[in-house]
């Protein structure tokens, strides 16, 4: 069975500082990894994905994530946080096999203070 761990319920960072939201995964076979963001009372919005190729992937709103196969991690990063980045972030994993579905982590609340 596949699973995702987001070890931090909340991450606090000051505006202008770099941010990291952690994600580790467990899956049989090659992983497809995703980050989504959710603003209050809204659905999930796609940020970025890793399917294959370059381990560093860039996404929307200046976010990026690094795939590390040996550590089974896919941490989300941004060089300079904005107050408007404050939201709930979800990491998710699936595989290339058949009708595999997306398995989500429990989410990490990012709070960026002015």
């Amino acid at each position: 069975a596949q699973s995702v761990a987001q070890p931090e319920d909340q991450v606090n960072v000051a505006e202008g500082n770099p941010l990291t939201v952690k994600c580790t995964y467990s899956v049989s076979g090659n992983p497809y990894l995703f980050w989504y963001v959710q603003y209050p009372n809204r659905g999930l919005q796609f940020l970025l994905k890793y399917i294959t190729g370059d381990n560093l992937v860039k996404g929307s709103y200046g976010f990026e994530a690094e795939f590390n196969k040996s550590q089974t991690s896919f941490h989300l990063k941004k060089p300079s946080a904005l107050v408007s980045d404050s939201a709930l972030y979800f990491c998710a994993v699936t595989t290339s096999s058949g009708y595999s579905t997306l398995t989500f982590g429990k989410g990490t609340m990012l709070l960026v203070s002015p």
């Binding site: 659905g43 919005q45 009708y99 595999s100 579905t101 398995t103 429990k106």
Partner: protein
């Protein structure tokens, strides 16, 4: 702009009622999904469908059923609503198989069962 539309943003229902949550997508996607989201638990898969009239159980199907009579529409049914089904319900869709496309989510339906 491509969309997944959930018919209601907020619903209040009484215990024991039969509840229908509707989801429509305009992207001609083969696959559709219903998740529920609860604080601290992330998103959990209830049911999914990879074709018209096809359905598969997810991780937490108990107390729910689904219907997919047309490709664009996927309905979640609470046969007899209970207070522990109070939650945010998210519908999603994706094309093809293999998971590489990621999911497009609706805005969610916040259901309260009293």
């Amino acid at each position: 702009d491509v969309k997944v539309t959930q018919s209601s943003r907020y619903l209040v229902k009484r215990t024991g009622e039969k509840v229908f949550l509707e989801c429509v997508q305009d992207m001609d996607h083969e696959n559709m999904f219903w998740y529920r989201q609860d604080p601290g638990l992330g998103l959990r898969l209830i049911y999914f469908s990879y074709d018209v009239k096809m359905k598969e159980k997810g991780d937490i199907p108990e107390g729910y059923s689904v219907s997919r009579e047309k490709k664009e529409r996927f309905s979640l049914i609470l046969e007899s609503a209970s207070t522990n089904q109070t939650s945010m319900y998210l519908c999603a869709s994706t094309k093809g198989t293999g998971g590489s496309y990621g999911y497009t989510f609706g805005s969610g339906t916040r259901l309260t069962v009293v």
